[in-house]
Amino acid sequence: MADRLAMSPTATLAVGVRAPTADIYAPQWRNVIFVAPFLFFFTTLLLFPLLWGMWLSFHKADTFSSGNFVGLGNYARLYHDKVFLQSIWNTFYFVLLTVPTLALIGLFLALCLNRRTRTAAVLRTLFFSSSVLSVTIVTLIWRIVFIPNVGLLSTIYGWFGATAPAFISDPSLAMVGIAIATIWWCIGLPMMLFLSALQQIPQDIYEAAALDNANRWQTLRSITLPSIKRTFILVIIIQIVLQFQLFGQAWLMTRGGPNNLTKPIVLYIYDTAFRRWDLGLGAAASEILFILILVAAMAQYLVTRSRGDQA
């Protein structure tokens, strides 16, 4: 059947049947049927909650009632809430710890593993493998690394008669511990994005460089890196959006402590809305997060749009 269909267009079009073809693409209401099922869920479970969330953020609300209109009251409370301001700072600090490291290690791995050997393939598989695990397993693994006494870290330090840094309980190190676990978890994606960018660099440029006796460092600096500049920016933005939404690692490793020092914005939202049931305040906090992420998403859109459609 497929063969017959593949054969016929040239035959029929040659006779000059353009009119019905044009007709096929005229707007028709009944065609909506194909997109309607998705649009139903999209509208009721995404668009509507988005708008309702905005509306909630102007109200004092709990689980079942939408309560009283308080205007910008919730936003004012956030502005004066030390814990919320701390959580914004924590989130930025976490992004600062993870994003540049992820981008640089990812780039390094991609540069090293961009070859057609079996070892490189195995290592690529290895470095991406942690990405498929759930946050529950990742935090379980890293808590057992960091935990005193039976932890991997304290065991290794023990061999040298030293005491391991307390990555979870020490206030100045707790966020670093979360960042290390996150980098371990997320390193696969930046590496893969860089790898696919590297493979798009035309091979003949390298051949020309080799003819000019360019050494490896020169080739890297004047050919490879400029060619993947856009991917680098893209990786940074993608990771900012991703790491901005830190929740599971912080909740499961430290519960946001000590002293709220590892409490990110999403954990603040979770605490406020789903543990203290102050839905209005939680909604207001999520609007702030939404705006911050939207700015980053806009930046990504502009980067992917500029200079061709490569992405």
């Binding site: 479970l45 668009l47 309702w52 969330g53 759930s134 529950t136 039976v150």
Partner: protein
């Protein structure tokens, strides 16, 4: 001559240095996992006395037997399979239909609608969670399978992916079928859908993996122990970490939960990598 020799020698040295760094990083990747597997095979009292006992016998499967004996784990696995499977099936159906609609058919307001759907890609889950939770409370959907499955059906990524895929299929194919008097539905089902199988596989695996690993929504929607998904259930047993249940038992649970997904990854690696990078770049 000697300059070339030196440069080759330098190159070899650089290679070794890079190799050493990559090996170091891969040890950092593997060591924690090996540690977890090691601990899962040890008796708890022995571990507490000396963690270095991991490196020598006796090893025991007791922790795994206990894990399997805890019936909750099987309930959570079953819940995760139902939720991830349901969401994957639903996403594939909705996205294929909508992708075909947006790519091939015309209807009033199509382009505006598509732009709105694209905008949906930029909406983070957290921006809708509070309202969604309230709506589901009113519908009494919490602690039900539909409560866990339905929110994922509103995600626009699949529609975006399928629309692009349908657009890449030559239009002559359906025009020909049109002239053979096939209906829209028939063309979609018999002619185009079989051609989208690679995209279906990518989207399917991506959706399944995302649902399987999802933590936030199941955490706030499934509050009853027998409606937990595997991620939430595992997290709930971690609370009294070192003291109560025993480290070895927790580690056995982690291996039990993590191993299947890693094995699936080894088999479908190509699709998973494509899907995850594709979703990131959009």
């Amino acid at each position: 001559m000697s300059a070339t020799a030196a440069s080759i020698k330098g190159r070899a040295f650089g290679d070794h240095l890079l190799l050493a760094l990559v090996i170091l990083l891969s040890i950092v990747m593997i060591a924690p996992v090996l540690w977890v597997i090691g601990l899962s095979l040890k008796d708890n009292t022995e571990l507490m006395a000396d963690p270095n006992s991991v490196f020598h016998a006796p090893y025991t499967l007791k922790n795994y037997i206990n894990t399997v004996g805890t019936s909750s784990v099987f309930i959570w696995v079953r819940n995760s399979i139902i939720v991830s499977g349901g969401l994957t099936l639903g996403t594939l159906i909705l996205s294929s239909l909508a992708g075909y609609g947006f790519a091939r058919l015309n209807f009033p307001g199509r382009d505006v609608l598509f732009v709105i759907v694209l905008f949906g890609l930029a909406v983070p889950e957290q921006a809708v969670l509070v309202a969604r939770h309230q709506i589901f409370s009113m519908l009494k959907f919490h602690n039900t399978y539909q409560g866990l499955i339905l929110p994922g059906l509103s995600a626009p990524f699949g529609v975006f992916l399928m629309t692009q895929y349908f657009k890449a299929i030559p239009k002559e194919l359906d025009e020909a079928a049109m002239l053979d008097n096939a209906s829209r539905l028939r063309i979609f089902w018999k002619v185009l859908l079989p051609l989208t199988l690679p995209a279906q596989a990518t989207l399917g695996i991506f959706t399944f993996l995302g649902a399987w690993n999802d933590y936030f929504w199941p955490l706030i929607s499934a509050t009853k122990k027998d409606m937990f998904t595997l991620t939430v259930g595992m997290a709930s047993t971690q609370t009294n970490f070192a003291q109560s249940e025993g480290i070895g038992f927790l580690m056995a649970q982690a291996v039990f939960a993590g191993a299947p997904i890693l094995i699936v990854y080894l088999f479908f690696q190509k699709y998973i990598v494509t899907a995850v990078s594709g979703a990131a770049v959009r």
